[in-house]
């Protein structure tokens, strides 16, 4: 058995097998289930660690299985995929811990954790996909695996949210499929290649390529929640908190954003995309999304909905970074893929803690909550400041490179978008911080539960604190080796090398 050939598959299987076993596990075997979950997560992290090291040292990992005549299922580790894989693997671990704590004693945990693992499998598959069809495969798997998580509660609202989610994502997937096949008939290959594989096509195909680009971006933009395709995301907030956390920080929206990165860089090639003239409209769409979603967020009283609109806005940073053609902006976009994930998952964990411990769902109920749950709110504060882009947090690093990239590429208008977004971010995050730290508590909380020694259960408290520290560290130690920033630089040298 050749290690290099099977490692990518092993990484995918490490959660797929866990998922399958959990599905058939009886409901009351919660110890076994937790052990399996954490074991799988730990194994994945180890494997990913090995892989990151290998990729850095020039190893080539690739699993190739025949899928159709002429088309293979390819799982390949390149620098870009490692960025996403590492993020998913790391955050899966934390979210699993969190979910175990969150869903303690709730029904249907086997189903939940099964789909949860399946979801991560799909995400890792999306990350490792070596060609467009493999990507598509895992992308759709992700859609399906998240649906049961959204409707997990089984309420009417959950069902409605699930329906909306499916309408959006299935339609998006269909467009993606169409575009993929179209591309295949044009080129006969779908392999992701650094700097794209389309630039050699005859120029008479260029109008078609523009259409394909639009189709691909629309299909992916549904998951990435680009305006006006973002409608499903705030609704999907009815899901349990770990789902929102994973969905919004890692799995779904990131899969969309990651797909857009892949399409722009490894299918079309950034320079070729720019020459087709499709990057500027993409940048404008991203900018509109950023501003629009932030404005919507300002007026949400429901905490998770506000965070959801914030996600819509923040994910478009990634797309903006890609659409501004230039190495600096690329670094900004890619590093934000990780940074946004870490920060947003912190925020969602915290929101979940508030809901689970005190029954707080609305911002107007949060008066003085910082006194009751200082650790949670401290983590929330770090996450929020990160989102605003305050130094030295992770968000600052992303914003820094985005701004630099914009100036470098001569697209000064982006600066105003960034500034406006920062202002709006401050506008919708700081009031939360203010009321939770400085206002007097209203008396009793909506539904308080006692968890003993700490402000809430330890399994709920540790993940957000860890991710908050991570968000701080990612910013402070941005230039340390193997940091996401350094890794994004590494990728960029590959994509822009002459």
């Amino acid at each position: 058995m050749n290690w290099d050939t099977w490692l990518p598959l092993l990484i995918v299987l490490s959660s797929l097998l866990v998922a399958l076993v959990i599905f058939v596990l009886p409901e009351d075997r919660s110890k076994t289930r937790t052990t399996l979950n954490l074991g799988g997560a730990a194994l994945k992290i180890v494997l990913v660690g090995i892989m990151v090291w290998g990729v850095f040292n020039g190893h080539h990992y690739e699993t190739r299985l025949p899928l159709l005549p002429g088309l293979d299922l390819v799982l390949r580790a390149d620098a870009l995929s490692m960025l996403f894989v590492a993020l998913s693997a790391g955050l899966w671990m934390l979210t699993t811990v969190y979910a175990v704590g969150y869903l303690e004693d709730s029904p249907h945990r086997s189903r939940f954790f099964g789909f949860f693992s399946l979801c991560v499998t799909a995400t890792v598959g999306v990350a490792l996909a070596g060609n467009l069809i493999t990507f598509l495969l895992f992308y759709e798997l992700l859609t399906l695996a998240t649906y049961p998580l959204i409707v997990h509660r089984g309420t009417e609202a959950a069902r409605k949210a699930g329906r909306t989610y499916l309408i959006y994502t299935l339609a998006g997937g269909a467009l993606l499929l169409l575009a993929t096949i179209w591309l295949y008939t044009l080129t006969g290959t779908l392999e992701f290649t650094a700097r794209g594989f389309l630039s050699t096509l005859d120029s008479s195909h260029h109008p078609v390529l523009v259409i394909i680009f639009v189709l691909l971006i629309t299909g992916l933009g549904v998951k990435a929640a680009i305006f006006p395709l973002h409608g499903w995301l705030p609704q999907a907030m009815v899901a349990p908190a770990p789902v929102s956390a994973l969905l919004h920080a890692v799995a779904v929206v990131k899969a969309g954003a990651f797909g857009i990165i892949r399409v722009v860089y490894d299918v079309f090639g950034i320079e070729f995309s720019a020459s087709l003239g499709v990057t500027l409209p993409l940048a404008i769409v991203a900018a509109v999304t950023i501003i629009y979603a932030s404005m919507r967020a300002l007026f949400q009283d429901d905490l998770k909905r506000r965070l959801a609109f914030s996600t819509v806005s923040q994910v478009s940073y990634i797309i903006l970074g890609i659409a501004i053609v230039g190495p600096m902006a690329t670094i900004g976009g890619m590093v934000h893929l990780v940074h946004q994930g870490v920060m947003k998952i912190t925020l969602f964990f915290c929101a979940g803690n508030l809901a689970e411990t005190l029954g707080i769902h609305k911002i107007s109920e949060m008066n003085g909550v910082g006194r009751r749950m200082p650790w949670t709110m401290a983590a929330f504060t770090i996450g929020a400041f990160g989102m605003i882009g305050a130094p030295p947090l992770a968000g600052f690093i992303s914003k820094w490179y985005l701004g630099l990239g914009a100036l470098e590429a001569g697209q000064d208008w982006v600066i105003f978008v960034l500034a406006g977004s920062s202002l709006l971010n401050a506008g919708y995050f700081l009031p939360i911080l203010y009321v939770s730290w400085f206002k007097e508590p209203a008396g009793s909380w909506p539904a308080e539960r006692c968890f003993g020694r700490y402000e809430t259960a330890l399994a709920l408290l540790a993940p957000p604190v860890i991710t908050a520290i991570l968000a701080l560290t990612l910013g402070l130690l941005a230039s340390a080796p193997f940091s996401p920033l350094e890794w994004a630089r590494f990728i960029t040298t590959l994509e822009y090398a002459p």
Partner: protein
């Protein structure tokens, strides 16, 4: 080495089994199951034989055409045999738990009889034999529909019978005209002799019309939803998975080998076949839309699944205007995937009906919690029907889309996507209700585990088909049923 006559065995074995089941009703389940397993093994044997030796031609009793009966196996018919064997085995296992003995003693002989007819149909090398087997199949199917009794089932069966006979007669008329013109009913001989003539065109028209009626292509599908939905679950499964496919198979065979006027005479009649293909494509597209919308409107689970079959049949006909090898392969892969997935879906619906005593979608009442295996089966089968990866349906959809875009007729591909979305809508309509509590909670019945697992296994098979596509696709190449020059 002793040469086994697998070709004959796969026809005779179910016939024998049927007789045995009929004669000894007490042992009917056991003998039926043994026959099913034996049949499955025989088809495997035949597959192995064909893989070794290539396409086979077998003269029964050594008489040979024109008076004797010739059997012929190539990749196409082999695939159909395998589909039948796989689905048949699953249905047999499912039925062994589904029917009580008073029904079972009627079910098993009819079912094995139907199986024999199907196998014979796929193996027939001449168009008259096909007529005979078609009729046999139709009669057995009608009897099976009537099995559950009740006014609805009986009227549905009656309507089905009339439609079936009507279709067969149209077909037979076409056979008569073809025989008159060329003096043979052997497909291979006909394919060399057929030329464009008014008589041939009339024959083509009659046969196509008859077969479309039996395949239930929109707008000739009216008989299908009542028949498929009122039959017992395993019968619905085999009707949707196999019986309608049989007439499609005939149509495809004729289209590929007896009708290919495009190749021989370019010019006016080529245009004629092109036009016919376009009409078939249009009807297919209409079926996709109509079936999808109707399925969405249904409040009964089995009717929903039945309309889903109408939609999927529409898909199959989208391959005709594309007229390329990829297109045909796509259609056949779709047929395969649909057969497996639809079996799983009807079985799941049957389980739900078994469990709740009704199949009102709005009152599914937490099936997701109570019958997780069944709902998983439904969901997985739905994925394949939607054409989402990784599933057999996805591979088929991919190939069909590829063929559509390659031939420059992307609008057919668009229909495919629309159909996929409609399928998604109605599948998730069901799944959505399965999560919630209904207003009328009901007393749950007991569902044998076997029934749940068979459904799940079939659904998983539909998914796995998406990962091992090269194998069946290579199988189809044997004997090159699609010709070489079309690519």
């Amino acid at each position: 080495m002793i040469e086994m006559h697998w070709v004959v065995i796969v026809i005779l074995l179910p016939l024998t089994g049927a007789v045995v089941c009929f004669l000894w009703p007490r042992q009917t389940v056991v003998s039926g199951l043994i026959t099913a397993v034996g049949l499955f093994a025989s088809v495997l044997g035949l597959t192995w034989q064909v893989l070794e030796q290539g396409a086979l031609r077998y003269a029964v009793g050594g008489w040979g055409a024109p008076l004797g009966i010739d059997l012929y196996v190539d990749g196409l018919s082999l695939l159909m045999l395998i589909v039948t064997a796989v689905v048949g085995l699953a249905i047999s296992v499912y039925s062994s738990a589904y029917f009580r003995l008073d029904r079972a003693k009627h079910f098993w002989p009819l079912w094995l009889f139907l199986w024999a007819a199907l196998n014979a149909l796929f193996l027939s090398a001449d168009i008259f034999n096909i007529y005979v087997t078609l009729e046999l199949m139709g009669l057995a199917a009608v009897a099976l529909v009537a099995l559950s009794g009740g006014a609805n089932a009986l009227t549905a069966a009656m309507r089905y019978l009339l439609v079936s006979l009507l279709g067969s007669l149209f077909y037979l008329m076409g056979v008569a005209l073809l025989y008159h013109s060329y003096g043979s009913v052997d497909i291979a001989i006909l394919s060399q002799r057929v030329e464009s003539s008014p008589a041939v065109w009339v024959a083509i028209g009659l046969m196509v019309a008859g077969l479309l009626l039996k395949t239930a292509l929109f707008p000739l599908h009216f008989w299908l939803p009542p028949a498929h939905s009122s039959a017992p679950a395993p019968v619905s499964a085999l009707l949707s998975a196999l019986v309608v496919k049989a007439s499609f198979y005939i149509l495809l065979r004729l289209w590929l080998e007896v009708f290919p006027l495009t190749n021989t005479v370019p010019g006016q009649f080529a245009l004629g076949q092109f036009g016919l293909a376009q009409i078939l494509g249009l009807l297919g597209a209409a079926a996709v839309l109509w079936g999808g919308i109707q399925a969405l409107r249904q409040t009964r689970l089995k009717l929903l699944v039945a309309y889903s079959t109408v939609l999927q049949i529409g898909y199959l006909f989208l391959a005709f205007p594309l007229a390329s090898i990829i297109g045909w392969k796509a259609a056949l892969y779709l047929l395969l995937a649909h057969a497996v997935a639809k079996t799983a879906m009807f079985m799941a619906a049957g389980n739900i009906l078994f469990y709740g005593g009704h199949d009102r979608i709005a009152d599914l009442d937490r099936v997701a919690q109570r019958l997780p295996l069944t709902l998983s089966a439904f969901g997985l089968a739905g994925i394949s029907l939607m054409g989402l990866p990784p599933s057999g349906g996805f591979i088929a959809k991919w190939l069909l889309l590829e063929a559509a875009i390659r031939s420059g007729q992307w609008w057919w591909g668009l229909m495919l996507i629309v159909g996929g979305l409609l399928t998604g809508a109605y599948v998730f309509k069901v799944i959505g209700y399965a999560f919630t509590r209904s207003d009328l909670p009901h007393e749950p019945g007991f569902v044998p585990k076997r029934m749940e697992w068979v459904a799940l296994v079939m659904a998983l098979l539909a998914i796995v088909l998406g990962l091992f596509a090269p194998l069946p696709l290579a199988l189809l190449e044997i004997g090159s049923p699609f010709g070489e020059s079309l690519r």
